[in-house]
Subunit: 134 residues, 6 copies
């Protein structure tokens, strides 16, 4: 059971209600998931986090499906059960195929393995990879 309750629509104040309206309009669905209903206990955080999600996950230089795949990768690495379920659903809704999902998990698992080899052996960065991208 979550540490704060998932608020029903009729328990929202005006500030949270405005965010929920925007979530519904942006996503084109009436369903608002538990994450936002729990954050609704803290309207400034609800506004700020929703604003960040809306801005960061919008189409840009990376397409929205790639962003969802990255979200899943981070959530699997951090072991966030909630985020894995919801972002897997979101990725699917954006067209992720089963084959893409399975390859994604294979890459995430591999990277977690080689991260520990590089960190564990304290491997020095090659001179040629040190310079900034800019």
């Amino acid at each position: 059971m979550s540490l704060l309750p998932a608020l029903a629509d009729d328990a929202l104040g005006p500030r949270a209600r405005a965010v929920f309206d925007d979530i519904r309009a942006t996503r084109g669905t009436d369903y608002v998931n538990h994450f936002w209903r729990v954050l609704a206990n803290d309207p400034p955080t609800l506004e700020r986090v929703w604003g960040s999600v809306k801005e960061v996950m919008a189409p840009g230089a990376l397409d929205p499906l790639v962003k969802e795949l990255v979200y899943i990768a981070v959530s699997a690495t951090n072991n966030c059960e909630y985020c894995l379920h919801t972002h897997t659903a979101a990725a699917r809704a954006k067209g992720m195929t089963g084959a893409q999902f399975r390859e994604l998990m294979a890459v995430v698992a591999l990277a977690n393995q080689t991260n520990r080899l590089a960190n564990g052996y304290r491997i020095d960065v090659d001179e040629r990879y040190r310079s900034p991208l800019a």
Copy 2:
């Protein structure tokens, strides 16, 4: 300084040499980076890890650039300095633009934030997101 030395070519036995030959042929470059030179101290691990990287990172349902982006996302989450430098270089070589890199980092940072909100508040997974993908 790494815990095991990065082996020069003339310090390799036949098994490690064969892997290095394959790395060079697969990547089309003579340069073999420190990661493989340190793993060369352990030829079975060198073979196994290179075999996994070659297989997992090959084009498939996800394109190779997306796989590099996922690698960077995991490495930033785990704080793997070596992997961040080398996979950023690899992603660039596969066409990652500066704008893509910056958006990637924004998604990774956001996911690390919302992962802690979901885990910290112990938010229950919505019933509709529980069922398997298959």
Copy 3:
């Protein structure tokens, strides 16, 4: 189900019983929670960990409520379900308000975000922040 059983009072040997007596006396309650009942399977660890908790969490330069807030912050970052439930209860018993809890979670989430921006971009520490505190 935990990997070792939570021991009932009548299953304790003298060493674990003495620790339980001290837990009860220190906390002014008869209730001993599962954490200690599982550690009771390993009396030296029970003694050592209880001794550490008792010493570290006592009033000092930081007040006990601040220490509980820090405990929650670490537990949310590490995704420790058990610790989140018990230390949230402990913080509440020490006077944590709902508003404080919500702000705490916002800070924890933000820090997890900026930690990955700093680590992911490999940002160099400014010279002026390098020198020791002492």
Copy 4:
């Protein structure tokens, strides 16, 4: 060396410059640290993250020093070198004493220990600690 350059003031566009002006006004200092100078390569992220930091770290139900202590706790848990140096300096500027810093580190270390005992033994949450705070 960071993956993107720390931008000097004369390399900023108008959007980043406006954020830097606000950082300087809010903090009452001309110094803008590397974190913001690297984020300045990505003006929307600079704006969004600075906006979040300004809002979340402002005085509220928790005082600003407690928020800095929580930031240090998260950064030590995640091993963020940059954040440890800068938030330790920030906490000091807000009045953190040496004794407070040492106690903080002791609590962080203890929580990381007991988090693994609880997670490793898979200890079940006591019924009485399961109910939400609200």
Copy 5:
């Protein structure tokens, strides 16, 4: 519920079936656990990961029980519930005593504590411990 179904034997294609045959032969039991049944949705990953587990966990310079203890240590640190249950069972089957398990958990907890003290205080590596092992 897992994100992909645990496949029954009659749902396997020839490639997954061959891996299951090898798991059964190697382990001397008919039981194939969920981990492999979920990976069976992705036959190349099933093959690759089983191949790695079979090679890495075989007797070598470290005996198989020590390898299981290391697996538990990593799984407790990362909070992998599945791995904790299965590798604890595997370690037991290889002779781990209750006393060994309890000591293992004490070492894991202690290392997680001192890791944060060393990382949090940014303690410099002593010159004498810097040189490689080789």
Copy 6:
């Protein structure tokens, strides 16, 4: 540079000096490494952590070398540079061979990989692995 200075012997008060005497006597060497010299700024923590290390790392149901291997495994997983260097040295002093070290790193890397597959796919624990050890 560490956040607190590594104290020289002549900067110690009587409480820290007594701990250093015990470290020297227990280890049979005059050398006291930076970890303890930094903790010496906080005598109660120095005492408590040294007491824990001395007790937990002593010979018991697990031999001291196995305990060092576990320490390295946790430190590689958490990316603790300091701990990797010092505990690798300690393991070597207790007889760890190069082959053992390389196998250890292979197990750690593998476990980090499979931990993410199990967590990422949210694989359900098999009924037969759920029951406690006791």
